[in-house]
């Protein structure tokens, strides 16, 4: 049998990059926070958790997520802040905390829960407890909004 000595480099070419009509998402500012604000928020949340003000800590953690930020570490830091708040809740208090949130905050919380399912599968049990309560309030629509989100939280 003859050996194929031709190059297969062509298989690694990104064809879409050469397509003039290739769809690209808008690179718009969406009012998200920068690194400084995320660190500031992490400190404030830690403070509230130390005072056992878990509901206020949750609301603060879900404010203004760094959605458009290109720096992955900033997003990681905000994610850690949210997870630390979720961990501090007792199972019985989750209901009351979720009832306090409006639809926008519910959507942000749902996005973090799904991020948690992928990044921290060891915490899945507690995240699922939250998921059940959030779906009761946000409905399947909040899950759909996590799926269609193109920017990633």
């Amino acid at each position: 049998m003859s050996k194929n000595v031709n190059s297969t480099q062509f298989r690694t070419v990104d064809v879409d990059a050469y397509d003039e009509d290739n769809y690209e998402d808008d690179a718009r500012e969406t009012g998200d926070s920068g690194a400084a604000e995320v660190t500031e928020r992490a400190n404030q949340v830690r403070g509230l958790l130390n005072q056992l003000k878990t509901k206020e800590a949750l609301k603060m953690a879900l404010k203004n997520p760094p959605v458009g930020n290109k720096d992955a570490s900033v997003k990681e830091q905000n994610y850690e802040t949210v997870v630390s708040v979720l961990k501090s809740f007792k199972a019985a208090d989750i209901d009351a905390a979720v009832a306090d949130l409006d639809m926008v905050e519910i959507d942000i919380l749902m996005k973090y829960l799904y991020k948690g399912f992928t990044c921290s599968p060891d915490k899945a049990a507690s995240l699922l407890q939250w998921h059940e309560k959030v779906v009761a309030k946000g409905g399947l629509g909040s899950i759909v909004r996590v799926m269609v989100d193109r920017k990633g939280i």
Binding site: Y23, D26, D107, K137, L140, G141, S142, V144, R145, R150
Partner: protein
């Protein structure tokens, strides 16, 4: 008063598009095939097949009936659209080809309010506005291309006949001017078009997180509503483009929207039932009121045959496999059937992926559902 009348039009295929004629006694439908069917209403209220219109060679995506001039427009995946004219003496519908000049499938077609032109959306990322050219006896098109960047899913005409709203897969809803000099249009300025703008000028652009499935101007044309795949309902008033009333619904994505009055919309989609949403104080949208009232099945329970079938298949003979909604699958399109002069809808119809067409009576529903206020 019956709140709804349902009919299983097709078995095994969805009803992908429908439109009524002016007298509401004929219905044109497509069943996701290359054939278009015209149904006539019998004395007992049921629709029966009257004619088949066969000209397209790919799936028919959308149909529309111009009520006053009695013409049918159809568009299909074969990149063509046809305008069908009825020969009064022979009763035969004759097609005339429309030169769309598109390289992809046509996805949506709508006659304008004056019925002298129609708009065709396509996968070629452009909209064709087609009008009749007398000298050559054919329909010609002009394109609206920039800045649309993906397939157009829905189009709606403003009552003035010169403004269009387009919803597309690039997550945007846009409003364009479509005044043509070829037809000697004399548009007037309005809230949407403060300065006279020529054809294809973009007048407004709104973003969502998902594909825009349906877009509709309110009966007066002052407000615009659109629904997207991120399960949201968005409404904007022409005077203030920055304040979009956005309702993040807890339901599955909505596929179609119609205005029930100047301040309320009826939506249907993947949840299989139509719901009514009111605009509260011009600022927010109320919770959706489900218009499909769950009725207890008469005769209580399943037939013996159904029981054994269910027992064989799932090992459980207590649950009926059908859904408790009238439509057994997603609602694809809603149409206003009857409305008064101010645009208050009293009857509307829905078609679904289950092959059913359901006729809903809003007045009867208003009296039967206790907290329904339109």
């Amino acid at each position: 008063m019956t709140t709804k009348t349902e009919q299983q039009l097709f078995v095994g295929s969805p009803v992908t598009s429908h439109a009524f004629n002016g007298a509401l006694d004929k219905l044109v439908v497509s069943d996701n095939s290359t054939t278009v069917y015209i149904y006539a209403k019998e004395a007992n209220g049921k629709w029966t097949k009257e004619t088949e219109l066969q000209k397209h060679i790919e799936r028919v995506k959308c149909v529309d009936w111009a009520p006053k001039t009695n013409r049918i427009a159809t568009c299909a995946g074969d990149r063509n659209a046809y305008v069908w004219n009825l020969n009064e003496t022979t009763g035969v519908w004759a097609p005339s080809l429309v030169l769309l000049r598109i390289e992809r499938a046509a996805t949506y077609i709508r006659w304008s309010p004056a019925e002298d032109r129609f708009a065709v959306g396509s996968g070629a990322r452009l909209l064709s506005v087609c009008f009749y050219e007398n000298e050559h006896d054919w329909w010609v098109s002009k394109h609206i291309k920039k800045p649309i960047r993906s397939t157009i899913l829905c189009v709606d005409w403003h009552p003035s006949n010169y403004i269009l709203a387009i919803g597309s897969c690039d997550f945007k809803c846009r409003v364009f001017s479509s005044a043509l000099k070829e037809t000697y249009d004399k548009p007037e300025t309005s809230g949407w078009m403060p300065k006279l703008s020529k054809f294809a000028t973009m007048l407004a652009e709104f973003s969502t997180q998902g594909w825009v499935h349906s877009v509709k101007f309110s009966p007066s044309g002052d407000k615009l509503a659109w629904v997207a795949h991120d399960a949201s309902i968005n409404i904007v008033h022409m005077d203030n483009h920055d304040t979009v009333i956005r309702s993040l619904t807890p339901s599955l994505p909505i596929l179609t929207v119609i205005w029930a009055s100047e301040n309320s919309v009826v939506c249907g989609g993947h949840d299989n039932f139509p719901s009514l949403f009111n605009i509260v104080a011009g600022e927010s949208v109320s919770k959706g009121i489900r218009l499909d009232v769950k009725e207890k099945k008469a005769g209580g329970g399943m037939s013996a045959m159904a029981r054994f079938k269910a027992l064989d298949r799932t090992g459980d003979d207590t649950k009926d496999a059908s859904l408790d909604t009238t439509h057994q699958n997603s609602i694809i399109e809603l149409r206003v059937v009857k409305s008064d002069a101010t645009g208050n809808c009293s009857q509307f119809s829905s078609i679904g992926m289950d092959g059913k067409i359901v006729h809903w009576d809003l007045d009867a529903l208003a009296s039967s559902i206790s907290d329904l206020k339109i």
